[in-house]
Symmetry: C2
Subunit: 524 residues, 2 copies
């Protein structure tokens, strides 16, 4: 099994109807806003742009009123910002009575690349069905076209595939009814004196906002799903921004509501046609149920939720400890047992050990509030795991932690074992210093991993460097024109995609929205 | 302006609300029948077939229950007969929970060629939007898919464009809810002792049935419109079969309800979004309003309709006579002023003269019933026009009528002037004999023109030859597997299309359904 896919379709799941009904009662209302295009644009190749493309404004939307479109004509509209919602327009005939259906094609893109590079050439391993397009045949004109699917875009390419020699088409009332469960009136206003950090904060907030739907989605283009790893980070940003804590609560009850027969929470859930737990189980994501619950309780002090969900959290602790070998180190395997980062070569053992210790500390926070008998046990386990790390994963010569049978040195291992507070402050500070001075070959591929890097920097008191790295990395996306932060960004490899094509990458992705958390929580 | 297109979008039309309300009151109910596939088939190249393709049964529909379809899989279902209606199926996931939308493509075909030859290579001049296809993205599975457009097909190709590595698709409950306003319980039963004629009769009836919708459509795949030339022939078949005479009445009132400012009826009407007269005006089609009304009155003796519509019919007579030159012959022109046949090289002058005389005789039938003062005038005009034909269009050396400045000899000219009863019986009989023995180079391209050929044969008493020609021509389509008769058929040129591609030809076309009229009316 390669990274990125598990198939366990014969598993049995347990449904907790009480938890599911609590979650259902917290279904948020969606706010709608009608957006209109701000411009008609052209997409132009430009090697200096990260994506290889840029847009140039070529006309005002009002110019469409005068324009008749014939077969083969196309135009690209720009809504001026990243948006999620339902697309519509009015299509009227011009000329003789329409003597054939009108065939329109719509292509939706978060980026100029999706407007420029044909979907027909997509060759990635994720389903091409994520590429957002629609072909519409209008038998009767004029017609108000309202596409039934929810799209995620800044740009829409509209192409007249065919009308007829007897009539052209006139388009008007082009709009996108955006949807989000984020209530902007509840957003804590904040203006950072540093213009770039201010912009990064705003882009973070829009990223979170566009991912806030009936659940915290990972990305509104793809996968549009509730993933635990994303949820944990979204919740952290939410406490500093929209404070819609009931949405976090809803998501926790959803994960607790459908578990594997042995009690393990899934890595992600589907909401339709019913709440369905995916059959992908990840060591780190399951443990993040504990961390997300602890963060939620810290933010809300919601005792009832803690009472309801503590047993589920504790079960994740138990299951994760089953993977610890007699030497106090997690058993490694070649399959996709933990996520950590999108990285084909990354060994997951040491970073997962870090996640385990980190989440046991989160569990101890909770145990202190509800199940104090377990505190001693947890402390003993945490110490035992930390000692095992120092004894077996620390390589004094390299000055780094190593992971797996091949003693791999990766950024992820250092970062997670720093977050797990292995070694004293001084040790961790020096380790981070080495990481900055002499980064291991196995680096970081996602904003998700970058989040933990920033978190680690702050944890050792290096906020100056944290600000610098945020400005460099997320600022790089802003400079590249991002309205929302991306699932993947490597300035040195702009084409990077773990899926085989950047066209299928998500350009509004929850795990990338955490600068607002750092900026606001730590007053960066 | 070439044959096949007129653009007169600045014309003003007159609406007669009384006529339109009578038409609206006669809107027929549609009968629905749920059809299920009879087989899964493969399409195989076969040069001995007219279309170059044949189908071979490869599985029973029930085998789909056991079959999981992955991206790239496709299947072709066969409904066993030509049908018109609404397509649906149930699509369920198999395997892990669906982690991506399912993208299905449906291609509908009246013929195996539409299953085999990619629409993307279509290069005809009619709008490609007539090629029947749909791309569907299913965000939530299982899903009951019901395509909103009406399709016309015997075969449906279903292609899984993408699912994902985690799930496949299972299809079930594939169906087509057929629609027609033809009431089969009112169909006069008839079994012809000659097996081929019996089959031709049945195929004719199915052709008419599938064209009977809210109006008499020309073809349910394309143009799906009320054309006067088709209506006239459909009405003739209807009187011998379904006898749904109110549908003929409705169509007459529709044509009378929206006329050009000067009173000319359009060649065709659109029904949606409202009754709209097309801006295509054809000399022959306008005159067929008179013929169709006369045939309707002959079949029904509906005096009220005659009283209502006589003025409209008479106006067509007046307008058509304006085109007659001082020499008693219609003025020719290079544009698409009369239809007669789909034939780029056909000169329309002489055949249109025949249509004019034919319809003046129909007008005289009506005048005798409602406006006897005009009978004398009409008789004088008919005689004058006939004399002019004999004086100016008859070429004694060639033994044929000639047409236009270049004195073209065509089948159409001879046929229409025979139907116009120019010359005595013996003259016409000998003319038809020469036509059979030594057919002019400018032949007949459509079943529509073939209808008039058969009609002319019968008019001179040559029913044996009529039967032979019906068996040869329409029997050829039956032998080629036709469930319904085609818009175009030339056994020597199977690829013939006036539109640039046989893919866009209609394979259930009203003007081709007249053998049932001849067989039943004349007891062939």
């Amino acid at each position: 099994m390669s990274q990125g896919i598990q198939k366990n379709s014969s598993l049995t799941f347990h449904r907790n109807n009480h938890f599911l009904s609590v979650a259902a009662s917290l279904l948020p209302a969606l706010q709608q806003t009608r957006l209109q295009p701000t411009a008609l644009v052209e997409v132009v190749a430009d090697a200096s742009e990260v994506s290889g493309w840029k847009t140039e404004k070529c006309a005002l939307p009002a110019s469409l009123m005068q324009r008749e479109l014939a077969a083969g004509d196309e135009l690209i509209i720009d809504f001026g910002t990243h948006c999620v919602g339902y697309f519509g327009l009015r299509c009227a005939p011009a000329g003789s009575p329409p003597d054939a259906p009108a065939h329109l094609q719509f292509i939706f893109g978060e980026t100029p690349a999706e407007m420029a590079e044909p979907f027909s050439e997509y060759n990635g391993w994720l389903s091409s069905s994520w590429l957002q397009q629609a072909d519409v045949y209008l038998d009767v004109l004029p017609e108000l076209v309202r596409l039934p699917r929810r799209y995620c875009c800044r740009f829409v390419k509209i192409k007249v595939i065919s009308a007829s020699a007897k009539f052209n088409l006139k388009l008007s009332d082009i709009h996108l009814n955006t949807v989000t469960s984020a209530d902007t009136t509840s957003l804590k206003p904040r203006h950072h004196p540093d213009a770039l950090l201010d912009q990064i904060d705003q882009v973070s907030v829009l990223t979170l906002r566009n991912c806030m739907q009936e659940v915290f989605e990972d990305g509104p283009k793809r996968d549009r799903r509730l993933w635990l790893g994303d949820l944990r980070l979204q919740a952290l940003v939410n406490y500093q921004t929209f404070e819609q804590n009931d949405l976090v609560k809803r998501c926790l009850y959803l994960f607790a509501g459908v578990t594997r027969e042995d009690g393990m929470v899934s890595s992600n859930l589907f909401m339709k046609p019913d709440v369905i737990a995916d059959d992908t189980f990840l060591f780190d994501y399951a443990l993040f149920f504990v961390a997300t619950l602890a963060d939620y309780i810290a933010a809300t002090n919601d005792q009832q939720t803690l009472e309801d969900l503590w047993a589920v959290a504790w079960r994740q602790v138990e299951l994760s400890l089953e993977r610890v070998g007699p030497n106090g180190i997690l058993q490694d395997s070649a399959d996709w047992w933990a996520f950590i980062d999108w990285h084909e070569s990354l060994n997951k053992q040491a970073p997962s050990q870090g996640v385990l210790i980190y989440c046991l500390m989160k569990a101890r926070e909770l145990a202190r509030k509800i199940d104090s008998e377990k505190v001693t046990l947890l402390t003993a386990k945490i110490d035992e795991l930390k000692s095992a790390v120092m004894e077996q994963l620390w390589d004094e010569n390299k000055g780094f932690f190593v992971s797996g049978a091949e003693q791999q040195v990766s950024c992820a291992s250092q970062i997670w074992l720093v977050l797990a507070e292995v070694g004293d402050n001084d040790f961790r500070s020096r380790l981070i210093g080495r990481l900055l001075a002499d980064p291991p070959e196995i680096g970081m591929n996602t904003p998700y991993m970058m989040h933990h890097f920033i978190d680690a920097l702050i944890s050792v008191g290096n906020t100056g460097c944290a600000v610098q790295e945020i400005k460099k990395y997320w600022g790089g996306m802003v400079r590249a024109g991002a309205d929302t932060f991306w699932e993947l960004y490597d300035p040195k490899r702009p084409e990077f995609s773990p899926y085989g094509s950047k066209l299928i990458n998500s350009y509004c992705h929850a795990w990338s929205c955490t600068p607002a958390y750092f900026i606001r929580k730590y007053g960066l």
